[in-house]
Structures are given as C-alpha cells and as structure tokens.
C-alpha cells in the first residue's frame, strides 16, 4: 500500500516536469556531447576529468550561478523549464570534460552576454550593485547617529539655551529647559 502511494506521489510530482517537455528527447550520449565551438570559445579543459562522484556536485554548484533565461531571477539549477534543463545538461557535459567554473561561465556568457551570470561581476558599473547598498546603509547610519546626537544636544549645557522671553519664566528656575517643556510645566502647575 505504501509503495502504491509512493508511486502515485512520484507520478504526480513528475507530471508537471514531463508536461513541459516539448522537444525531442535527447539520448544519454547526446546529452553528454559538448555544444558547438566550445574549445574555440574557451580553449581546452583547464583540468583533468573529475571523478564521476564529483560531476553532479560541481554541476549543481555551477548551474546555481547561471541565470535561467526564461525565468524571473531563477538559476538553471532551480528552474524546471526545458531550456534550463538543457543548459544544465550542457553544464554537466562541460564539467565531465574537465572544464572549470570560469570556463563554463565564460562559455555561456559568450552567447548570452553577462546577463546570464546570476551573480554579476564586481567590476565597473556592476560595482554599484555591491557598493550602493553598503553606502546607503552608511548614510542611513550617519543620519541616525546625527539625529540621536541632535536629540542629546538639546539637553547639552554647552548648547545655546533658547528660552522664550515672554512671561519672565527664567525666574522659575527653568533655565536650560526647552520652552515647550517649560510651557507644559507651567500649564500643569496652573492646573
């Protein structure tokens, strides 16, 4: 019974993914073929072929850095779309051939442009993405510190005292107290 329920659950989970397949299914050998002009674009593999156990881990790591071109802010590793899965197969083929992360990202970038990198390079105009949030945080922090200081500065004996001239309240021993506080005290005292 449990096996039957499990089979039904697997079939239900697999159904949406299968429904998205519109293309001719590639054979295992076709999936492991490198795309056109790989060597001409990024040169020979930078390293030896990884052990089979490492291929899947490296594929996942690198696919997580490549943007799914047909999704909103998703990586090729996350997206179930057919184009993302094709791209992930290509990442796997490149990893299995010994291409490293830099070469694989460069290969995809050569055809899609820098947009395909989910994490933009921290150079040139892109630096804004990294620097601006920190700068805004710094400005915000300065603003808060300045505001807190100004609050404390109002009670600072060294700060210039502003007392309303009307009513001769200075005689009430409220020198150095904000006029509006003095007025509240007066009103309370008057009942």
């Amino acid at each position: 019974m449990r096996a039957l329920l499990l089979a039904v659950a697997v079939a239900l989970l697999a159904a949406p993914a299968a429904a998205q397949d519109t293309g001719t299914l590639a054979t295992e050998a076709e999936l492991l073929e490198l795309g056109p002009d790989v060597a001409a674009t990024v040169g020979p593999p930078a390293s030896a072929r990884p052990a089979s156990g490492d291929v899947e881990r490296l594929t996942e790591d690198i696919a997580a850095l490549i943007r799914c071109p047909r999704c909103q802010g998703m990586s090729v590793a996350q997206s179930p779309s057919e184009s993302a899965r094709n791209m992930k197969h290509q990442v796997r083929a490149l990893v299995a051939a010994g291409y490293d992360e830099g070469q694989i990202l460069a290969y995809f970038e050569s055809s899609y442009g820098e947009f395909i990198r989910l994490v933009p390079r921290a150079t040139g105009f892109n630096l804004l993405v990294w620097v601006l949030p920190l700068a805004m945080f710094g400005v915000g922090l300065l603003f808060v510190i300045g505001f807190l200081k100004s609050l404390r500065g109002e009670g600072d004996p060294a700060a210039p005292v502003v007392v309303e001239a009307s009513g001769g309240d200075a005689a009430d021993g409220e020198e150095g107290v904000d006029p509006w506080i003095a007025q509240v005290r007066r009103e309370l005292a008057d009942g």
Binding site: P36, P69, M87, Q90
Partner: protein, 177 residues
Amino acid sequence: MTQPRVSWKVLALGALFLVPLLVVLGWGFLMDPHEMPSPLVEKQAPGFDLARYDTSERIALADLAGKPVVLNFWATWCVSCRYEHPLLVQAEKIYGDRVQFVGIAYQDKSAEIEAWLEKHGGSTYPTVVDVGGKTSIAYGIYAVPETFFISSDGVIQYKQTGAIDGPTLKRELDRLL
C-alpha cells in the same frame, strides 16, 4: 515655537547619493526592456550540424560557407512564429538563389513540425531539429522566434529578437548582399 533645524550637511549628503541613483533609474526608463543585445553580433557564427526533421539529412553551417545565411529559430508552440513564417517563405522565394534560409526548430518534435508546416502553407527552405538545445545555447536563444543574419564569411551581422517584420527582413537581407 522653534522651527525644526535643517542640516545642510545631511541634505547635501542625501543629495550626493540620491541624485546619481535617480539618474541611474531615469536612464533605465530610456532602455527598451525587450531589447536583448547579443554578444554574438559581429562575431563568427557558432557552427552547427543538425538533422532535418523530414529527411534526417544533416545540414552544417560549415557546408553553407560562401553564401549568406538566414537562421530562424522557431517552434510550433510559438504564437508569433505563425505571423513571421509567411514572410520568411516569401523572402526565401525572392532571395533564395542568393541567401540560404534555414529554420532551427527549438524544443520541438518532428511530427509536430510536419503537422504545423502542413497547416501553415509548408516551407520552401529546410528546417533542422536542435535535439538537446545545444545549438540554441550556443546562439544564446532566450525565446523564439529569433533570427540571425549571417554574412557569407560566417559573421553574424544582425540578430532579430521576436517576430521579424517585412521592412526589417528586407533591410537585413539587402545588407547581407
């Protein structure tokens, strides 16, 4: 009643960050979000060697060297492909002796391609199937239709994202010749 004090330093600091931010955002409004500039334009077209959907005969870009090529990535499930297909067929009838037109079916199956072409008046040029999508990846396809105009020396001269219109098609074909 005291007036709130205005700190010119804070205002200047705020403006220092806010103005460039607004300039960047304003610049973004001037951009066309549908425009996807291809890094492949003015570069050598990626090679391909794919089988026709109907005869399984292989067509390789290398075999077409010496003749300009119009490469149209399309799919039977793509709505706007219906609108540009008659235009491409018409253009092939006029330019076909000087320009090689090739359709590349994107995420599609031979049976669907055959039925679709039959329904939409057939085709005067070959269509190959990109099994596994490797050629589409090499050409940086975001979505179909996308059309590449390749000069006789194999360099991509222009990329059209989305359905192509008549004037653009004619302009780019004339540029290839």
